[in-house]
C-alpha cells in the first residue's frame, strides 16, 4: 500500500515532499492561530475549557465544554461563574463568585487622587480591575479559601474568564485524549498521514 506512495514521492522530487509536509504543517498552524486569535479577541488565555470535576453540579458536569470571555474593565458580580487558575496549579477551577470587594488605590499626589476619586464617584460601579473575589463550587460544602494558596481573596489577575455558554458532553474527547495519550498520538499520526498522502 505504501510502496506506491513512496515511489510517487521519489518520482515527484524534493519540492513535492516539502509541499506535502507544508500541507500538514499549515493545518496545524492555522488551528493554533485560530485558538490564539480567539484568545486575543476575547481577552482570555483559554477561551474554551473542559469541566474536569463535579464541583459545579447540577449546573455543569464533568466533560462539559465552557466558553469564556474576559473583557478588561468588566466587573464580576456575585453569582457569576468564573474559571480561575493559580500560577503553578495544573488545572483551571470552575466555581461561582460568592462575594466581591473593591480595592481603591491611593496616590501620593493629593490633587491627582482627588481628580481620580471624583471620576470614580461618577461611575455607578467602579471598574473591575481591582476586584477581590471569593468563590465556591455549587456542589461543595465549603468555599475556596483553602485553594487560594495563602491568600484571603482571589485576585482579578488569576481569573481566566467568565462563563458565557456551554456545550454538554463534548469535552469528553479532550478528557479521553489526556487520560490515554496513545489516543492523542494516534489521532495526530493519522491526520499527518492523511495530509502527506493527499494531493490538493
Amino acid at each position: 500500500m505504501f510502496s506506491d506512495e513512496l515511489k510517487a514521492f521519489r518520482r515527484l522530487g524534493f519540492r513535492h515532499l516539502l509541499l506535502q509536509v507544508l500541507n500538514f504543517a499549515s493545518v496545524m498552524a492555522s488551528g493554533l492561530m485560530l485558538w490564539k486569535g480567539l484568545g486575543l479577541f476575547l481577552n482570555t488565555e483559554s477561551p474554551i475549557v473542559v469541566v474536569l470535576s463535579g464541583s459545579m453540579e447540577p449546573a455543569f458536569y464533568r466533560g462539559d465544554l465552557l466558553f469564556l470571555t474576559n473583557p478588561a474593565g468588566e466587573r464580576y458580580h456575585a453569582g457569576d461563574i468564573t474559571v480561575y487558575k493559580f500560577p503553578g496549579a495544573d488545572i483551571p477551577i470552575v466555581h461561582r463568585v460568592m462575594e466581591t470587594r473593591d480595592v481603591f488605590i491611593s496616590f501620593e499626589n493629593s490633587t491627582e487622587s482627588r481628580i481620580i476619586k471624583k471620576r470614580l464617584a461618577k461611575l455607578k460601579f467602579p471598574p473591575g480591575e481591582h476586584q477581590l473575589l471569593l468563590t465556591k463550587g455549587d456542589n461543595n460544602h465549603v468555599d475556596d479559601i483553602e485553594l487560594y494558596q495563602g491568600l484571603d481573596w482571589l485576585e482579578r489577575r488569576h481569573i481566566i474568564g467568565k462563563v458565557r455558554g456551554f456545550l454538554p458532553y463534548i469535552g469528553y474527547v479532550t478528557i479521553a485524549m489526556n487520560d490515554f495519550p496513545q489516543l492523542k498520538y494516534a489521532v495526530l499520526g493519522g491526520l499527518g498521514l492523511l495530509a502527506l498522502i493527499q494531493r490538493e
Binding site: 506506491d4 518520482r11 498552524a29 493554533l32 492561530m33 486575543l40 482570555t44
Partner: protein
C-alpha cells in the same frame, strides 16, 4: 515567418529500445520538439489512480505532463510559483509556531502585544499566499524555459495551464454516456525569442480538451504513450506558431 519543413518522422512505435535524437542537422534553426525524443518502455513507472476521483485524474495528467516536458534536451521547469508558495507557507508556519511558543512561555497579560504581532503577521502571510495562488498562479501547472545555442542564443518559454472541464449538465440524458465525461483541458502559451528577449522569433498559443477516458483504462492505469503523444502534438503545433 518562413518555416523549414521538418523531415523527421514522428516516432510512433514505443518499442524502440534506445533514445533517438531528432535529426537536428536537417533543421538547425528549429529546436527539437517533445515528440522527437522517445522514452524507452523500461524506464516507465506504471501510473495507477482511482478512476472515480477527478482530482486524482487531473493530478496524474499534470504530473505526467511535467515529467514528459522536463526530459533532457527539452524544457527546464521554472519553479517560481512553487517556490513562492513554499516560502510564504513555511514562513507562516514558523510565525505561528514562534507565536505559540512565546504565548506558552510568557504570562498571558505580558504576552499579549507579542501574540498580536505574530497573529497579524500570520494573517498577512496567509492572505499573500492565497492571493498569489489565486491571481498570479491561477491554473498554471508548468512553466518551462529552454536555451538553444545553434546559430544564435535562442530562448523559448512555455507556459501550460490545465483544468478539468466537468460533465456538462445541459445534456438532456440523465444517465452517463460516452459523450458526457469529464475532460482535461490544456492551454499552452509559447514564446520564442533571441538576444536576451529583445527580438521575438515565434509566438504561439493553443488550447485543447480531451476526455479523461482517452488516457485511463477501466482499472485506472494511465496510458502514458497516448497522453504524451497528445501533449507532444500540441506542443509541436504551438512551437510552429499556430493559433492566435
Amino acid at each position: 515567418m518562413v518555416h523549414r519543413q521538418n523531415a523527421t518522422a514522428l516516432s510512433s512505435e514505443p518499442t524502440t529500445p534506445s533514445r533517438r535524437r531528432s535529426s537536428a542537422a536537417s533543421s538547425p534553426e528549429k529546436p527539437p520538439g517533445p515528440l522527437s525524443i522517445t522514452i524507452s518502455p523500461e524506464e516507465r513507472d506504471v501510473v495507477k489512480v482511482n478512476n472515480y476521483s477527478v482530482s486524482e485524474l487531473k493530478n496524474a495528467c499534470d504530473d505526467a505532463l511535467k515529467r514528459y516536458l522536463s526530459r533532457p534536451d527539452l524544457f527546464k521547469q521554472i519553479h517560481l510559483h512553487t517556490d513562492v508558495r513554499l516560502v510564504l507557507g513555511w514562513a507562516g508556519v514558523f510565525t505561528a509556531a514562534a507565536t505559540g511558543l512565546y504565548g506558552w512561555k510568557t504570562d498571558f497579560e505580558k504576552s499579549k502585544p507579542g501574540v498580536w504581532v505574530g497573529f497579524i503577521l500570520y494573517l498577512i502571510l496567509t492572505s499573500l499566499q492565497t492571493l498569489y495562488s489565486y491571481f498570479v498562479e491561477g491554473d498554471t501547472i508548468f512553466v518551462g524555459r529552454r536555451k538553444t545555442f545553434s546559430k544564435r542564443i535562442m530562448t523559448e518559454r512555455i507556459t501550460i495551464s490545465s483544468r478539468t472541464l466537468p460533465v456538462s449538465s445541459s445534456k438532456t440524458s440523465s444517465q452517463p454516456s460516452s459523450t458526457n465525461l469529464p475532460s482535461y483541458s490544456l492551454s499552452i502559451n509559447y514564446v520564442q525569442s533571441t538576444s536576451g528577449g529583445k527580438s521575438l522569433l515565434a509566438k504561439g498559443r493553443t488550447s485543447e480538451a480531451k476526455e479523461y477516458s482517452a488516457f485511463f483504462d477501466e482499472k485506472g492505469v494511465m496510458a502514458q504513450e497516448v497522453f504524451e503523444r497528445w501533449v507532444g502534438e500540441l506542443v509541436e503545433a504551438v512551437m510552429e506558431g499556430k493559433g492566435a
